[in-house]
C-alpha cells in the first residue's frame, strides 16, 4: 500500500516532507543488541569451566544448542520489532496538514492530524550533549484544534523543520483567508 493511500491524500494535496526520528537515536538499541549477542559467549566460557559435562552430555548438549538458538532468534526478533516501531513513527508534512503516526508496540498505533492553518506556535528544543552534537531534538506544536499540543521527539534538525512548518502554515493561512473572502456565486 502507498503512504498516500494510507493517509487518504486529497487531490490538491502533496507530501512535502516525511520525517522520522533521527537514525542516531537507534544507536543505543544497536549497542544493546550487540551486547545481548555477546553475552552467551561469556556464559559458554563460564559453563565450560564450571560444568564441563553440560556441554558434552548427549542430553544436555542438544538442549543447550536449542536454548542458544531460541535466545539468538529472540534477540534478533526483539531488535527487528524495535526497528519497525522506530521506523513506523512518522511525521508527514503536506501542503495542507500535518500527520503524526505513532506506533506503540506491535498492536497499537495513534494517528494525530492538524490542519496547517490552525498551527499557532511551534517550539523546537535541543536538549543534551548528544542532541546538540548530532542536531536532533523535539518539536512542540501548539494548535487551535481539539488536540492543542503535538509533541514530536528526536527529529533531525528541529530548528529547520520548525521554520519549514511555519512557512507552510503561513501559506496555508493565506490560501484559506483568500478562499473565505471570495464571494460565492
Amino acid at each position: 500500500m502507498l503512504l498516500s493511500t494510507y493517509i487518504h491524500q486529497k487531490s490538491y494535496e502533496h507530501i512535502v516532507y516525511k520525517v522520522r526520528r533521527d537514525l542516531i537515536t537507534l544507536l543505543p538499541a544497536i549497542f544493546g543488541f550487540i551486547l545481548l549477542l555477546a553475552a552467551p559467549f561469556g556464559a559458554y566460557f563460564l559453563f565450560s569451566k564450571i560444568f564441563p559435562s553440560l556441554l558434552t552430555n548427549s542430553i544436555t548438549l542438544p538442549l543447550t544448542i536449542l536454548f542458544a538458538s531460541i535466545y539468538f532468534l529472540s534477540v534478533g526478533l526483539f531488535f527487528y520489532t524495535y526497528f519497525v516501531n522506530f521506523y513506523l513513527d512518522l511525521l508527514i508534512i503536506t501542503n495542507d496538514r500535518l500527520l503524526h503516526i505513532n506506533q506503540i508496540g506491535m498492536f497499537a498505533r495513534s494517528i494525530s492530524e492538524v490542519d496547517l492553518y490552525k498551527i499557532q506556535d511551534i517550539t523546537s528544543k535541543i536538549d543534551g550533549f548528544f542532541p546538540a552534537l548530532f542536531k536532533y531534538g523535539d518539536l512542540l506544536i501548539q494548535t487551535a484544534g481539539t488536540q492543542e499540543k503535538f509533541m514530536i521527539y528526536n527529529v533531525p534538525d528541529p530548528e529547520g523543520l520548525r521554520q519549514i512548518i511555519l512557512d507552510l502554515a503561513e501559506e496555508d493561512r493565506k490560501f484559506h483567508s483568500l478562499n473565505s473572502t471570495q464571494p460565492t456565486p
Binding site: Y6, I59, T60, L66, I70, L77
Partner: protein
Amino acid sequence: MITFPLYIFLFIYLLFLLFLVFFITINIYHLVHMGNITFVSTVITILFLSYTVLIIFWTAQQLLPVDWQTPIIINFANLFTGNPNFGI
C-alpha cells in the same frame, strides 16, 4: 521418576519457530501496510531474515547427529543432592 523422549524439546523449538514466523509476518505487514518500504527498511529486513536463516541453519547443522529417541529420565531423588547434571 519421569521419563520422556528428547524430541519433546524439538517440538517446543518448532512451536517457538511458529511464534517467530508469526511476529516476523506482523512486522513486515506493518511496513507494507503503512507504505514504509524504503531502502533502509528493506536492507534491515533482508539483514534480519538472513540472520534468522543463518541461526536456524546453524542449529540444524549442530543437531543433525543427535539421537532424538534418547529418553530423559528425571530422578527427583537426585535433584537436591548437588548433582551437577540437575537430576538428568
